[in-house]
Symmetry: C2
Subunit: 317 residues, 2 copies
């Protein structure tokens, strides 16, 4: 049967009816702005509108925050504070009459990649998103590792340099603090001031350099921009090497905005994994770009929708 | 039915018949010295001797090395090179007629703790051994995370200080390089030379200080020794905080020789986890000493023995 995936982002809500093969049959979008009550109405309306005329077995909301499956609410959502503390499952079930599951968006993206994307051929997949922050999720032995409270899979918050820069989570030297889009922009500003004659340095005189500027300049051959992405890739690889030793995965798929820099970051990460991870895991693992496109959020969410009676995934596991 | 657990260590082979309740019915020990053929004979003899008069459903060998379940051999065993490359499963099955499973010793200890020890009440357990090195294993959602090749669970080989000291694995700044018994001894030598008047400093004049000396002096109140263990606990906590964020476990059980220092190390680790890990995982996790005693090796091994036909654990899961 089909399922509805709802991708609740910091700026928009996207809802889609998805088939067991990962095909999107219908999709609607609403803004995610406004206070709690307006947000809940937009979510419910998006579901009730998109389901019209389709048979569906359940909904999953993928949300940008720490989900407590035990307390059935969002603990912490730095980019969408309005949903913090809301019992989303109960609210959506009441407003739509459909069985509702709530999951962290990065865990949903990991499961989506496992069902339909870069990990669809394997049983051991790590999914990493490089965006404003670093998120992710792990499928090991075919099981999505949510942890005891559903708060697991915070792959960006392992310490890789204990004396490193402060992270948004309060810790120092997290993978996120060293390899996120935010870290790229910070490093770009530093390199721009060290190398004012580079294209990166010249852009920095005109305006604030963004993470996405760096990839563009690097592709045009600017050595300063290339060095920023290479250093980011080294830090990413230091984190990934640890994951290789702990999880022995077949695939590490890297997605998110900053991953659009592709091999400019990933080649340095692959090199660092070969240097730092142990055999045989380092020889097995394939580090590649995530393959699900613009629909990855709703696909990942739909893949985690569950039946009320059996508790099984509507789209299969 | 009962199973036989075989704990293959660097100096001895211990084999025991274990009941589904974790009771040891019979046990034998042999030295593990000698070349490949003598080692194989000792393993087979220990099994055939210990099983005499008991009904058993299978054997598991817990070995101190990286096990490739795919290639069915030991990839790397730094403390027992003689077993490297041997197809142990086939050799033992031929010599004993019993279905044989081969597992990494730290993964076996983790599963033993999950079935019979500090994790027997939970579904999400991380087991860490602090010995000469740092080993471990993870049970998440009730599943032992071996990874794609059986090489997972190398918890000591995550980077926590990328610019840190070189590790035995070739990497720099691994948890093992900063929190193992070896790291304790190295740190003790440094502190002894900085504080020659301390009890630790005075011992260092007489002879080489060992890891176990430090715990003894710390218990007698020597501040220099206490500071060595506290710093070790801080590094341990930095690693554990990352595991809390990634796995959201209910219990982290710490065993192995260096763990005998108990709260002298663990209190500092707990404090660091509270500082560095995220809510709600940091509030849930209980960090405690592993509870299985001298038989932990054979218990952990027996708990991983499998039936030939069903592939299920002989002692249950």
């Amino acid at each position: 049967m089909n399922a509805i995936g709802v991708d609740v982002g910091g700026t928009k809500i996207a809802a889609a009816v998805v088939t067991p093969e990962g095909e999107v049959l219908n999709e609607v979008r609403y803004p995610s702005s406004g206070p709690k009550e307006r947000l809940l109405s937009s979510m419910a309306r998006s579901v009730n509108e998109v389901r019209d005329g389709f048979e569906v077995g359940g909904i999953c909301l993928a949300v940008p925050g720490t989900v407590s499956t035990v307390e059935n609410k969002i603990i912490d959502a730095p980019n969408l504070h309005a949903i913090e503390g809301i019992p989303l499952k109960d609210e959506l079930e009441e407003r739509t009459g459909l069985t509702t599951t709530v999951e962290n968006d990065a865990n949903a993206a990991a499961w989506g990649g496992f069902r339909f994307g870069a990990g669809s051929e394997v049983s051991h997949l790590i999914f990493i998103t490089l965006g404003t922050g670093v998120g992710g999720g792990v499928i090991s032995h075919g099981v999505l590792l949510r942890g005891a409270q559903g708060a697991g899979g915070e792959m960006g918050h392992i310490t890789i340099q204990a004396t490193g820069p402060r992270c948004g989570c309060g810790n120092h030297g997290c993978l996120e603090a060293l390899a996120s889009g935010t870290a790229i922009a910070r490093r770009a500003r530093e390199v721009a001031s060290e190398e004012p004659d580079s294209a990166l340095g010249q852009l920095a005189v005109e305006r604030a350099v963004l993470g996405e500027d760096v990839a563009g300049l690097a592709r045009q051959g600017d050595e300063a921009a290339i060095s920023v992405l290479r250093e980011t890739g080294v830090w990413l690889g230091i984190g990934l090497a640890g994951f290789v030793n702990v999880f022995n995965p077949e695939v590490i798929a890297v997605g998110g905005g900053a991953a659009r820099a592709g091999d400019l970051i990933l080649d340095a990460a692959r090199h660092e994994v070969r240097l730092r991870a142990m055999s045989p895991g380092r020889d097995l693992v394939e580090i590649k770009e995530a393959t699900l496109g613009a629909d990855s959020g709703v696909l990942g969410a739909a893949a985690l929708a569950r039946n009320s009676s059996s508790g099984e995934y509507v789209l299969g596991a």
